[in-house]
């Protein structure tokens, strides 16, 4: 069954791909398969607002994405949704995808939008108190565990770890972030800014154990599901009621094994988002590893919120061209990635690829004024050789973002 376009992955990337196929004049059938039981919803609030809003009459197994759900455009009214069914394998020669329930779907065009799964710490035990934050179901489960006074350990001081740490602290938990690098988030935003934000977190009550990893976890009794503490690589121990694992993600690409695709880190595509040198298979979003001519020939995955939308537009043009017999879009694909992060009332906004920089410089404002009401804000430039590769701002008037973005273009 199926035929037409099959999109595997029912989150932001899959949704935007379907929308953009319609916008690119593809009028044939579209089927969207999703591992989660929910229609596409917005994930950034999961580490922030969703953890803070606690409804009085919450039912554990009865939460729908509600206001997180993306609006579905009228052009997608005839899409077939197959939810709660992950794809388990694919035969790209026969153009068939098999779902977990054994159902097989054939296609004329395939969209790969399967995203990521959080990486877990390699220890067993304590499962009842261990959490990740990727899905609405994850967030609702974590929200119930964040009772005031709970001792929370966050493994990983990246953006998700820091956002969750801020939310848990606001809920009245006692929070410690364990991070192997010398400062939180420093791979993405550089040490200088990272240390300044760390100081702001500490002033708000978060504790950090830096240059440290979790070496084991302990339960009251061997094999128990309740957690007691985590052991750190410096031979100390942290009592823990809740452990949040925010140590990065792995790509959901295993279902594509055996097809000759480069799945080294996600799905390698060309700059038209086509995978495996075929015209009718495209990948979008977190799982896609694509070259961006703005930043050289190296293909990279970019786990920013804006990327599913940007890559979907490009992928839809490629797929529609293939299916409708049109010439493909050969213009350069060089989107400027952007992301934001809200932590304790400050909003960090990033444009470009600051993580690629070899040199940073404060362009304006003051690092010591982070979080000050009516403070000057700040902007930091990230240079890669002679080129400005990225800008991160905190607390600047939003109108100024366009100015900095123009400097990156």
């Amino acid at each position: 069954m199926a035929g037409g376009v099959l999109i595997v992955g029912a989150s932001l990337g899959g949704l935007r791909l379907a929308e953009q196929l319609r916008a690119a004049d593809y009028a044939g059938p579209i089927t969207i398969v999703g591992a989660e039981r929910h229609k596409p919803y917005n994930r950034p609030p999961l580490s922030k607002d969703v953890l803070l809003d606690v409804p009085a009459d919450e039912k554990v197994h009865d939460i729908e994405p509600g206001q997180l759900a993306f609006g579905i455009r009228p052009s997608l009214a005839d899409v077939t949704w197959l939810l709660g069914q992950p794809a388990v394998s694919a035969d790209l020669n026969k153009q068939i995808v098999t779902l977990a329930d054994g159902c097989t779907l054939n296609y004329d065009g395939l969209g790969i939008a399967t995203g990521l799964t959080p990486r877990r710490l390699p220890f067993s035990g304590g499962e009842a108190d261990r959490h990740v934050v990727r899905t609405i179901d994850d967030a609702v489960r974590l929200r119930q565990a964040l009772s005031p006074g709970a001792r929370v350990v966050v493994a990983g001081g990246g953006f998700v770890g820091c956002e969750v740490a801020a939310s848990a602290t606001k809920r009245g938990c006692s929070v410690t972030v364990v991070e192997p690098l010398p400062a939180p988030m420093c791979r993405s935003i550089g040490q200088e800014l990272a240390v300044a934000i760390q100081t702001y977190h500490e002033a708000n009550g978060v504790q950090f154990r830096l240059g440290t990893t979790i070496s084991n976890i302990a339960c009251e009794h061997l094999g128990e599901r309740r957690l007691r503490s985590v052991a750190l690589s410096d031979d100390t121990e942290l009592p823990a009621d809740v452990l949040i694992e925010a140590t990065g993600s792995t790509c959901n690409a295993g279902w594509l094994n055996g097809n000759g695709l480069d799945l080294t880190d996600g799905v390698l595509t060309d700059d038209a988002m086509r995978a495996g040198g075929t015209e009718h298979v495209v990948a979008v979003g977190d799982v896609a590893r694509f070259p961006n001519s703005r930043y050289g020939a190296v293909a990279r995955r970019v786990e920013h919120w804006a990327i599913p939308g940007l890559t979907a537009k490009r992928a839809a043009a490629s797929l529609a061209a293939s299916l409708l017999g049109r010439a493909p879009d050969l213009s350069a694909f060089n989107p400027i990635p952007t992301f934001w992060s809200d932590q304790f009332g400050i909003r960090l906004q990033s444009m470009g690829m600051p993580g690629l920089a070899d040199r940073t410089e404060l362009i304006e404002g003051s690092l010591s004024a982070i979080g000050e009401a009516n403070g000057p804000g700040l902007a930091i430039g990230y240079w890669r050789g002679e080129a400005l590769a990225g800008v991160v701002t905190i607390g600047l008037p939003v109108a100024r973002l366009s100015q900095y973005r123009a400097m990156l273009d």
């Binding site: 609006g71 934001w340 939003v398």
Partner: protein, 62 residues
């Protein structure tokens, strides 16, 4: 076509201004202003702005 922005949801990320500078702007007072009834030829720009809004506060009504 009508552009509706839920200002209770909008957190002033400013992505709409980057996506559709002809339709969205910040005034000197920091408030968001937008073209409520754009021309049909601007539909794509309006949809782009709605798509990139991190809070999904922008809705295009027909």
């Amino acid at each position: 076509m009508k552009i509706c922005v839920d200002l209770k949801t909008c957190k002033l990320h400013g992505q709409c201004i980057i996506a559709a500078p002809d339709l969205f702007a910040f005034e000197a007072d920091g408030k968001l202003r937008w073209v409520e009834h754009p021309a049909e030829s601007q539909r794509k720009a309006a949809e782009d702005a709605a798509d990139v809004c991190p809070e999904q506060a922008i809705v295009i009504e027909d």
